[in-house]
């Protein structure tokens, strides 16, 4: 675009030809009032609040839609502009309730703010005001549609960003109502953003309703830790409690959106099930004690069972992937200092002998620029909402998206779904790789010489070869595939051959932080599964809830419950099984209560400070770990704050326990394949305790989907349960496969 100069309110301003006027005034800090305009949504011009006067144009023009041209003279404040702006303001207010003191948006309302400057002291409107019946659109968003000013930001958010047009305008004229089209209300995984974009009190946070005024709260920058994105957000606090979470801006990470998971998980912090006091088990009875007593008890137990008798190799350290990078770092440093190499965060992987190795080598912001996407084993919308949002943008811009999944999941963008059994994925990829190698005139490795590429393989290969910016996304459903490692290896090879990128979504939360902190067994150490199978004498566990976190939850509980195993557990929530196998319970801070960092898929280490203090006696885990190290009289733990830990670890290179893999495409199981996923709002302890999320449609998800033939083979029908989960018969599922999405624990599930 050509550089031009325009004149705004008498000042010469540089701009690009065709730029929208409002982006220029925003950049220059010139205040132009607006309601419907939102920088991330399409232009609507419907509120008319940004009317300005342009010389030579009879009618006032909306700044949000007017493209500028050289020499244009604009007045944002002259009599004509002001008259239009004030006229619109008056119209907006005539039917709007003027009861700001009882409106939940009061104090953070765009209408209220703009009315101060453009409104009148007295209303000239003496007719009856419009009243709109409220509608219940779900547990997350409170509606008060009498307050709606019809800016349609929520409607445009739904259709343009969330990819599901749940809100719309029905009726016309004064009867125009913004409401959901369907009775089930709003179900999008990104719905909470409608609260943020709503300029008035029409859509507000339901869990936060009538809690507080915005000015009563402090606001802390923070980072979400439920997925690999690490969305930037603000935790708003009052008297030591997180009362609300709103989105933050970061173009490289989450733009200006956050998922509902990140927005509403804070509710779990105030759950009555928090672990609040240190406890020790004496003669089988739990006893609440002071911290020093609990820590002494823990140290004595660890010394007795593992350290004094030179049995550090019989000690195991396991942590949940939601831990901070600093917690991972301190815990492994302490364990290694005492000679223990049994360190792992991979709790839910069946086969750790052949682990998945795949780099993520594409930035989040580049995802929307790819021209071809291959997704393998992921229900992207629910599992990785922020990544799906970027990929959807790529698709809308013309990218081709293909998916190899056990089920034709409901993606909100145009996708070529191939429903395939997990058993077939490796062969399909091998076929595609063979086609690609042949096209590149390269010799195929021995394991694929006998492969006869299927039509699907050829099709996928052609798309990858035809594209310039491909990305292959490997999802969480693959982690327990019997050929997981081979699949990952072939994905890497295919990407290399087509100059594409890879995105490894096989694990989540702060997994990369764990890898940077070297929270993995090195040479002689045991991995999770080996530890649970070995004759161990002690464990140090960080925020683990066995029935959800372990792949083999029953055998894990059994191993940890052995009489001669001393278990020290740091937890943020109470848990019966943890109480069963532990000897000491140390209450730890949850998300927002601790300082630290999260490494996201961009490999950015994003630091955050605690927004609130942990409740009662709960302490940040990094402090607990440091004190344990001190009590063990280990050197090198003289940290005064968590930043010193971050400084120490930030130069570390990512550590992966790589080993050569022999690709064996014959390794298939003949049993019916089950993929078990927690519902999107049950993937970590905080989420499971967030009540509003749990009662939402996504949170209620609990189904074992299978096709008619599989149901027949298993003698099941709708109304029955499979592994304790209600059966749903759907022919969108691959043959002889079951896809479980459950909000239940897995103790009944995976053990079958």
């Amino acid at each position: 675009m050509a550089s031009i100069t325009i004149e705004i309110d008498g000042n010469i301003v540089n701009a690009k030809a065709g730029e929208r006027l409002i982006t220029i005034t925003d950049r220059e800090g010139i205040s132009v009032p607006r309601f419907c305009y939102h920088k991330k949504l399409s232009v609507s011009t419907s509120c008319r609040m940004c009317l300005v006067d342009i010389e030579g144009v009879t009618k006032p023009q909306t700044a949000c839609s007017t493209p500028v041209s050289d020499g244009m003279k604009i007045h944002t404040q002259n009599e004509k502009a002001k008259a239009s702006q004030k006229a619109v303001m008056e119209f907006l207010l005539i039917n709007h309730p003027l009861d700001c003191p009882i409106c939940d948006q009061g104090g953070e309302c765009e209408l209220q703010d703009v009315a101060v400057e453009y409104g009148s002291d007295v209303s000239r409107f003496s007719e009856g005001k419009r009243v709109v019946a409220p509608s219940d659109i779900g547990p997350l968003i409170q509606t008060d549609m009498t307050r709606c000013i019809h800016c349609t930001r929520c409607v445009r958010f739904g259709s343009e960003i969330a990819g599901i047009m749940e809100m719309g305008g029905t009726g016309r004229g004064e009867d125009l109502k913004i409401e959901p089209f369907l009775a089930e209300g709003i179900t999008s995984e990104l719905s909470g953003n409608m609260i943020d974009v709503c300029p008035v009190g029409a859509l507000t946070s339901k869990p936060f309703r009538y809690e507080l005024r915005s000015w009563q709260m402090a606001s802390a920058d923070s980072v979400a830790r439920h997925d690999l994105v690490g969305s930037n957000l603000y935790a708003q606090t009052y008297k030591g409690l997180v009362k609300r979470v709103v989105s933050g801006d970061n173009e490289l990470v989450n733009e200006t959106w956050i998922s509902d998971r990140d927005r509403f998980s804070y509710e779990g912090l105030a759950h009555e099930n928090r672990l609040l006091l240190p406890q020790i088990k004496v003669e089988g009875q739990w006893k609440e004690v002071e911290w020093n007593v609990a820590l002494d008890f823990a140290i004595k137990g660890l010394n007795k069972n593992a350290l004094n008798s030179r049995k550090a190799h019989k000690l195991g350290g396991l942590a949940s992937s939601t831990a901070t990078t600093e917690e991972f770092y301190l815990m492994q440093k302490m364990l290694r200092e005492i000679g223990c190499e049994n360190i792992d965060y991979r709790l839910n992987v069946n086969n750790l002998d052949d682990p998945i190795h795949l780099d993520s080598n594409i930035k989040l912001s580049d995802l929307e620029c790819v021209d071809n996407v291959l997704v393998i084993g992921a229900n992207l919308r629910l599992e990785q909402p922020m990544i799906n949002l970027r990929l959807r943008k790529a698709q809308l811009a013309g990218a081709s998206v293909s998916a190899l999944n056990v089920k034709a999941f409901d993606y909100n963008h145009k996708t070529n779904h191939s429903t395939v059994s997990p058993n077939e994925i490796a062969t399909i990829l091998a076929g595609a790789l063979k086609v690609i190698l042949e096209k590149n005139s390269l010799e195929a490795p021995s394991y694929i010489t006998n492969i006869n590429p299927s039509e699907l393989s050829i099709n996928l290969a052609d798309k990858l070869l035809d594209s310039e910016r491909s990305v292959i996304v490997l999802g969480e459903h693959v982690i327990n595939n019997t050929q997981a490692a081979s699949i990952a290896q072939m994905v890497a090879e295919i990407a290399k051959q087509v100059n594409g990128k890879t995105l490894n979504l096989t694990s989540s939360a702060n997994t990369l932080g764990a890898q940077y902190a070297h929270f993995l067994p090195k040479s002689k150490g045991m991995n999770t599964n080996e530890m649970l199978a070995a004759d161990m004498s002690a464990f140090l566990l960080l925020d683990i809830y066995p029935e959800y976190d372990f792949h083999h939850s029953n055998s894990a509980v059994e191993a940890l419950s052995k009489d001669d195993v001393f278990v020290v557990s740091l937890n943020s929530f109470n848990n019966e099984l943890v109480a069963q196998y532990s000897d000491v319970l140390l209450p730890m801070a949850a998300m927002y209560e601790t300082s630290g960092s999260h490494v996201n898929i961009n490999h950015d280490m994003q630091s955050f400070a605690a927004a609130v203090k942990a409740p009662e006696e709960a302490k940040p885990a990094w402090k607990i770990l440091k004190v344990i190290a001190d009590l063990l009289e280990l050197p090198g733990f003289h940290y005064e704050n968590v930043t010193q830990v971050s400084e120490e670890l930030k130069h570390q290179k990512i550590y992966e326990h790589k080993q050569d893999i022999t690709i064996d495409l014959g390794k298939k199981s003949s049993a019916i394949e089950t993929i078990w996923m927690h519902s999107a709002y049950h993937s970590d302890a905080l989420l499971r305790h967030a009540k509003s999320l749990s009662s939402s449609k996504i949170g209620q998800t609990n189904s074992a989907s299978m096709n008619t033939a599989t149901a027949k083979e298993l003698s099941l029908e709708c109304g029955n349960t499979y592994l304790g989960v209600p059966v749903v018969v759907s022919d969108t599922v691959a043959d002889r496969c079951v896809f479980v999405s459950s909000n239940q624990s897995t103790d009944m599930g995976r053990e079958s």
């Binding site: 232009v43 009618k59 909306t62 006229a87 000013i149 019809h150 016309r172 004229g173 009867d175």
Partner: protein, 422 residues
């Protein structure tokens, strides 16, 4: 009289292809198919004719057609706006009923000029009979090999479809019509971009009124100058006036532009029961009302009506005699705009309801002295501030009724009853 769109109106089966062709219909289109015209020749002829958009805005048709990027890549569309909904207007309905082939040929000629191979005629939802007539004419034209792909083995293709609306006045606004045609809710788009660049499905699109298209074939066969000479300066040709209200013979009249209003009134049989003329809305309900005195001195052309203080609009002449209560008349008009506002943009959504409610309150005998100034102020605040012209259309009658007949409003407010009606 009746020289262009209505030239066959007195013939039997005047809507048939046979009648149309017998009077020289499709001769221009057949010449085009034989390659005897260039688009520029047609545009020049139209420019000479002085034909201006008959939907209400009065934009020169030849100029509009010349704006279309005919050489742009991709599909282009030509659209006829037959969503005739302005209160007082019923001319397009009769063109569709009595001369549908002139619309088809006019659109076909337009499609050739604009290099658009697909056309749509968007017909008002209530127009069942006109719709069926037009559909019938389309069938005839296809059967006669006048439409389709590579017509008569030429390189010219034109497929024409009719589309029945769903009963919204606002869809007469061309960009709302595009939205509706695309299957969306009929709400106007902001401009720019204009339909000539970003129109139906985002493609270059020309939209003209039914009467404009219907005038084109006759202009082409008899020449632009012939048409221009029928009218007066700045208002070439003839115009259909829909005369309604307190006259003896309310009807559509195709007369030369520039005819004195008094003559048009005579054509319509004069005032009903010999009553005295009180007021005239000359161009459809959205154009300013004129007093009898001003109207009687006015000529029926763009400049003449503008000089009188109103607009020619769609040529919908509403005649009101002395028995008319202007408060009641305006309240009815205000209700129409309140009811038909799409609700998209603030001033119209909120302002039309406000205007109507204040007027209704006055009608209910609860008017306040300051209501007149309030009404004036509210219409002023709607005027010019909306996405489309419906805002202005709602405001203009209020302004002109209050300006010209203020004493009736004052009387109603003071006495709680009409000054006119007993």
């Amino acid at each position: 009289m009746n020289e262009v769109c209505f030239k066959n109106i007195d013939k039997d089966q005047c809507w048939s292809l046979e009648t149309y062709e017998a009077s020289g219909g499709y001769s221009t289109w057949r010449k085009i198919l034989k390659g005897e015209y260039t688009p520029d020749e047609i545009i020049n002829e139209l420019k000479t004719s002085g034909l201006r958009g008959r939907g209400g805005a009065g934009f020169p048709t030849g100029l509009k057609w010349s704006f279309m990027p005919r050489n742009a890549q991709g599909q282009k569309y030509v659209i006829c706006n037959s969503d005739e909904g302005e209160p007082g207007t019923c001319k397009d309905r009769d063109i569709l009923r009595f001369n549908p082939h002139s619309v088809i040929e006019g659109m076909a000629i337009g499609s050739f000029v604009m290099n658009a191979t697909i056309g749509y005629n968007y017909i008002r939802g209530e127009f069942m009979e006109p719709f069926n007539r037009f559909e019938g004419a389309l069938k005839e034209a296809y059967a006669a090999g006048l439409l389709g792909k590579n017509i008569n083995a030429s390189e010219v293709s034109f497929d024409l479809y009719s589309h029945l609306g769903a009963g919204a006045y606002i869809v007469g606004e061309e960009t709302a019509l595009l939205e509706s045609l695309e299957g969306k809710k009929g709400q106007p788009r902001f401009k720019p971009p204009f339909p000539a660049n970003v129109g139906l499905y985002g493609k270059p699109t020309t939209i003209n009124n039914t009467e404009s298209f219907a005038s084109v074939p006759e202009i082409m066969s008899k020449g632009g100058q012939w048409f221009a000479d029928l009218g007066v300066e700045n208002s070439g040709g003839t115009k259909l006036f829909s005369v309604s209200g307190h006259v003896n013979n309310p009807a559509n009249f195709e007369v030369s532009m520039g005819m004195p209003f008094s003559e048009l009134l005579e054509l319509a049989g004069g005032m009903r029961n010999g009553a005295k003329l009180k007021a005239v809305i000359p161009g459809g309900s959205s154009t300013p009302v004129l007093t009898a005195e001003v109207a009687m001195g006015m000529t029926m052309d763009y400049d003449g009506i503008e000089k009188a203080g109103s607009m020619l609009g769609a040529g919908s002449v509403i005649i009101m005699d002395e028995s008319t209560c202007m408060v009641k008349a305006l309240t009815r008009l205000a209700h129409f705009y309140y009811d038909e506002s799409c609700g998209q943009c603030t001033p119209c959504r909120e302002g039309t309801g406000w205007l109507y409610r204040v007027l209704k309150r006055i009608m209910d005998g609860k008017g306040k002295a300051e209501d007149i100034d309030l009404l004036m102020s509210v219409q002023e605040k709607i005027m010019g501030n909306t996405i489309c012209a419906l805002g202005d259309a709602a405001a203009m009658p209020v302004e002109s009724f209050l300006r010209n007949f203020r004493e009736e409003f004052e009387y109603y407010i003071e006495h709680g009853k009409s000054m006119v009606e007993k």
